[in-house]
Amino acid sequence: MKKVSRLWNWLKDLSGLTELVYSLFAIVFALIIGAILIYLSGHDALEAYYYLFFGAFGNIYNLAQTLLKSIPLIFTGLAVAIGFQSGLFNIGIEGQLYWGAFTTAVVVVSLPGLSGYLLIPIALFAGALAGGIWGAFPGYLKAKTGAHEVITTIMLNYVGILATTFLLKNFFKAPGPVDQTKGIPMQARIPELFPNTRLTWSLFIGIAVIILVKYLFSNTSLGYDLQAVGANTSAAEYGGISVSRVTVLTMTISGAVAALAGSTIVLGVLHRFITNFSPGYGFTGIAVAVLGRNKPEGVLAAALLFGALDAGKVSMQLFTNIPGDLITVVQGLVILLVAAPSLIRLFSSTFGRGRELIASE
């Protein structure tokens, strides 16, 4: 008993590492449960994980698929995390992402003559701006009227997705059966890192944004205000921080980052705007943010993990007859275990440290 508690305290002392240790434990634990499930469903778990791993990291092409699939999650996860940092739950990522993608595509097809060096930054900026405005709107509603952002952002998702579809169909649709804009010119496409992998320089845009946001939080007054409002609104008010201003700004930044997920897909992968192109990147972003504990570097790691599971899933399904849904279950388990550190604490207190732990808190 003593030993367990000493080990526990030792783990806790590595405060910076603790969360990482927790998360790694959660991942391993989720994989073990996943293996049991695969076994119970009559398949070979070892084989499944072999192909999962192979599909994610087996060769350059597979590794590129892992990275490719993580890119939109980097943006959407980061967007959710930014909101959480100032205590806002932005579930409107999906709508913001559609506005980003749509605006980027429209800007590019309207300015076909420009060189790529100008066009790509302009298109990215326009997308971010559109998503930022779409995010600022619920922020403003909350600041002015107190309307809860969870409700407004959820509803604005539908408005965003359907409004872009409407605009596309009526004004920007390319001829043909598919609801899409015409393809964007070659010079506006973000170049590939490795030929035929579809993995583009967008990866580095994602990493750059991660670094930028990390810097925003640790080294700027604005980032300070954002986190102060998230950590203790009353104290932030006491310090003279305008909570409504921070609310609007946070939602703007969050929306802009969310939009980049859409913009980079348009410029790097699809090369056009297509309706219903997102398989729910915005919602997966919530999971990524939770797994990454709302920290930029955590989001990066979590997005890579999700990318790897997604890429691995494809090869697993290809080479075995194990349903990919089982991997989705594993993803769910990871979230469940990470999001519930209170559960872990409960377990640990059952091992002898008793209810006074809770009483003293």
């Binding site: 305290n9 007054s221 102060a228 203790n232 008010e237 310090g239 003279g240 006074e356």
Partner: protein, 503 residues
């Protein structure tokens, strides 16, 4: 024979030793005080006795019989009653309902309400605990609520009563009344354990005193053989200056003026009505009053944290009423908020980040919106050094500091900004004796430098020793303005309770 005899009680929370081999012997029919600073382990020890915590080691004897109390219901069966700091009452139920809940007299399976009311009335008469058995808890005063708590314990036939900091929430008159009740309970054969960190009360009411410090027992003394100075010394472990010396001052120009200020708080429907006062340079104006009589509304109204309806707030000639909180801070108002953890600090931020709260956009901490982290760290370390903040470096989170040290962090942050005015609300609440001494010294220091100070406090001793003048707030109005040297505690207490005072 001892009513309570605790031997070698040890209780740890993780790495923290809250009680370290503590002995406590309470004689029958005495009022025994457990004295110690916040965090000394007083409440932990009593929670062990009452079965709220399980001890790691030690033995407990009640009337010479060893007992093994593992939960409160067992403690109650053994005749122990505990009156907690925060009352455990159901607001919407009547006094009687609260008292009998869980031990109701029954007629068949129905509650025998008549008997319940009769029992409560009989009990309250027997011990001189006047309450109306039919009144609802939400409609009676805090002092009455405390009596209900005591009755609740007596109704369960407690003969050992634990009172955890019972005076913290009472007016001076209510304290006197409580002491009278405690004496009567003692006369009728009850044993009382009285937890406090207030020396004066200890000296007034108790027979013997056990002093705890850092989870260890320092000693047990007869109240008649000791004095406040020695007690403070035992509590803190070093000599303590109990009352601060205030220098004489001469009349100086008015620096801060409030005229006919009106504030409405919709939450409790309290109106601050036509509040007017002036503070001269280098003057401390104390605001006395029972909590909830407009102190919070005044404090927040002056800081722009709460809208004001009308009036003027003038600092060195200019009206502040249209300014934002940030602007008021910028022109030099230092604010020590009454709620340290809700307002004054961000518990999850480290000390560096707490130190720049309110000036995170200003030089030298920030240039064009970019934080100068080296400068912030240096400054934090200076403040830690200058204000004697213990238990942490610039990198620890504010939540890991003790209450006294958290308060020093706020004090350090606010006083190092060259204030033009200090608004200090409950600056020593929940702070240990050593830190109180320090905080008082710092506030007087600012006074001597000519800074006007508005001191809002519920501690009469603090108000009397620091203030030059005292105003009394009652139901949102100033009911008296007094010279601090001339005021006596009884008179102040009556004014706080809304009574008229002659002369």
């Amino acid at each position: 024979m001892y009513a309570v005899d605790m031997k070698g009680i040890t209780k740890t929370f993780g790495d923290t030793v809250a009680n370290d081999g503590v002995d406590l012997s309470v004689e029958e029919e005495e009022i025994h005080c457990i004295l110690g600073e916040n965090g000394a382990g007083k409440t932990t020890l009593m929670n062990v006795l009452f079965g709220l915590y399980e001890r790691d080691a030690g033995e407990i004897f009640l009337h010479d019989k060893e007992v093994n109390i593992r939960k409160p219901s067992q403690a109650i069966d053994h005749g122990i009653g505990m009156i907690h700091q925060n009352f455990m009452l159901v607001n919407r139920l009547s006094v009687t309902d609260n008292i009998v809940a869980g031990a109701e007299p029954k007629k068949g399976i129905r509650l025998d309400r008549k008997k319940a009311v009769k029992d409560v009335r009989r009990l309250s008469e027997k011990y001189g605990l006047k309450v109306d058995p039919e009144a609802r808890i939400e409609n009676i005063s805090v002092g009455d609520q405390q009596r209900v708590e005591i009755l609740k314990a007596l109704y369960r036939k407690a003969d050992i009563l634990i009172l955890d900091e019972p005076t913290a929430v009472l007016t001076p008159q209510e304290v006197e009344d409580l002491f009278r009740i405690m004496r009567e309970l003692k006369e009728s054969g009850k044993t009382l354990i009285f937890i406090t960190h207030k020396l004066k009360e200890t000296m007034t009411i108790t027979d013997r005193i056990t002093i705890l410090r850092d989870g260890k027992k320092v000693g047990t003394v007869e109240t008649g053989d000791t004095n406040p100075r020695d007690l403070a010394q035992m509590m803190v472990g070093r000599d303590v200056v109990l009352s601060v010396e205030k220098s004489e001052r001469e009349e100086r120009p008015v620096a801060f003026e409030v005229k006919d200020l009106n504030v409405h708080n919709p939450t409790n429907n309290l109106y601050l009505r036509d509040v007017s006062f002036e503070i001269e340079e280098g003057e401390v104006l104390g605001v006395a009053g029972v909590e909830g009589n407009g102190q919070l509304e005044l404090e927040e109204g002056l800081m722009g944290l709460r809208p004001t309806e009308s009036g003027e707030v003038i600092l060195r000639g200019s009206d502040l009423r249209e300014l934002t909180t940030r602007e008021r801070k910028k022109i030099g108002i230092a604010h020590i908020p009454s709620d340290r953890l809700r307002r004054g600090l961000i518990a999850e931020f480290n000390l560096q980040r707490n130190m720049i709260l309110g000036s995170e956009w200003d030089r030298p901490f920030s240039r064009r919106g970019f934080l100068d982290r080296n400068r912030i760290k240096e400054y934090t370390e200076e403040v830690i050094e200058d204000f004697d903040i213990r238990g942490g470096t610039a990198d620890v989170d504010a939540k890991s500091l003790s209450g006294g040290n958290q308060q020093k962090v706020i004090l350090g942050r606010e006083l190092t900004r060259d204030p033009e005015l200090i608004i200090a609300a409950q600056p020593t609440r929940g702070v240990d004796v050593g830190a109180i001494e320090y905080i008082h010294g710092e506030l007087l220091n600012m006074r001597d430098r000519g800074v006007p100070v508005l001191l809002i406090s519920a501690e009469l001793d603090e108000l009397r020793s620091l203030s030059d003048r005292i105003i009394v707030l009652y139901e949102g109005e100033i009911v008296a303005s007094l010279d601090a040297d001339a005021v006596d505690e009884r008179e102040l207490g009556l004014l706080m309770a809304g009574e008229e005072v002659e002369g």
